[in-house]
Amino acid sequence: MSVDEIVCREFAELATDYLEGAMPDETLELVEEHLAMCDWCRDYLDQMETTARAVAAEPAAAPPGPGSEPPPAILDALVGAFRARTAGEGDG
């Protein structure tokens, strides 16, 4: 980025790069300068972090829906294959 400041609209797109620690030094400097004086963008950043934490904290966040659990017949077959492995070891 060749400009000497960033504006809020740009920061809104950079928030994740910032949280991920994935920005070139010069951009990072501009972002930190911006954050130092912009309460609103700090609020936005907080909300992005809160969002990520909320997703992480939601045990059932993996979206439900068709196919979210294996069909019982498949599960049985897989458990059967697992049992056969154990049985095979016992025999050998």
């Binding site: 504006v7 809020c8 609209r9 740009e10 809104a12 797109e13 928030a15 994740t16 790069d17 910032y18 949280l19 991920e20 620690g21 994935a22 920005m23 070139p24 030094d25 990072l28 912009c38 609103w40 963008c41 609020d43 936005y44 950043l45 907080d46 909300q47 992005m48 972090e49 809160t50 969002t51 990520a52 934490r53 909320a54 997703v55 992480a56 904290a57 939601e58 059932a60 966040a61 993996a62 979206p63 439900p64 829906g65 196919g67 979210s68 659990e69 294996p70 498949i74 599960l75 077959a77 897989l78 458990v79 294959a81 697992f82 049992r83 492995r85 154990t86 070891e89």
Partner: protein
């Protein structure tokens, strides 16, 4: 390059090393309940990753089943250099990649992934426009969320959160699930989905931005 101590993104492995150890011992001892639990826990997410490489749900389902069979026969050789979960997802990704290469999926995931790149994280009309006093600065700034941790525990908030995740485009849902729900780090997600680093980050950003917008609506409505 990277700031040394940026605010840490959540990276909470759902299987801690300790649980991993116990689970592995149970599996090796032939504990069927432990195995069934593992299948129930990861089947859907594995299928989601498989879908990044193959064209139909039913092929993805086959790839996941092959993965479980490979995991069963590989249990004794698993050396714990990675977590059980990582090992499982890598088996899956390898199988899905070769299956996808054979069937030459017409639209690769990485192409789908680029589709949403231009979308704005925040609607453009929330920023001041060219003729305004401070173009590009907030016109309608986000309002701070009060006590978000507590309010996000309510049943209603959690439903909204789940619905927001469920409404994401497939690619965003997959990346968000792997990063924020399953706790994989960026490099692992890039490897599992064959994405570049930058691509992965853009997708994660789009996904979190959409979910944030939905939570913002929820907080405004219930303020």
């Amino acid at each position: 390059m990277a700031q040394p101590t940026g605010p840490a993104a959540p990276s909470r492995g759902t299987l801690s090393a300790d649980r991993d150890e116990r689970l592995l011992a149970a599996l090796r001892a032939g504990d069927e309940e432990a195995f069934a639990g593992l299948v129930r826990r990861y089947h859907a997410t594995l299928k989601r990753v498989a879908r990044a490489y193959v064209s139909t749900d039913s092929v993805a389902e086959e790839v996941v089943q092959e993965t479980w069979l490979a995991a069963i026969s590989g249990l004794d050789r698993f050396e714990q250099r990675a977590s059980l979960k990582t090992w499982l997802f890598h088996i899956l990704a390898n199988k899905a990649k070769s299956r996808g290469a054979r069937e030459r999926r017409i639209v690769p995931f990485a192409t789908l992934a680029r589709a949403g790149e231009d979308e704005a994280s925040v609607p453009p009309d929330r920023f001041q426009q060219a003729g305004d006093t401070w173009p590009g600065h907030w016109a309608m700034p986000p309002r701070p969320w009060e006590d978000p941790e507590r309010r996000l525990q309510s049943l209603e908030a959690r439903e909204r959160l789940r619905a927001a995740i469920g409404a994401l485009p497939e690619v965003q849902q997959t990346v968000l699930t792997l990063r924020d729900v399953e706790g994989f780090d960026a490099d692992e997600v890039c490897a599992l989905l064959d994405l570049t680093d930058g691509n992965q980050r853009v997708i994660l950003h789009r996904a979190r931005a959409r979910v944030r917008a939905e939570l913002e609506r929820y907080f405004e409505e219930t303020a």
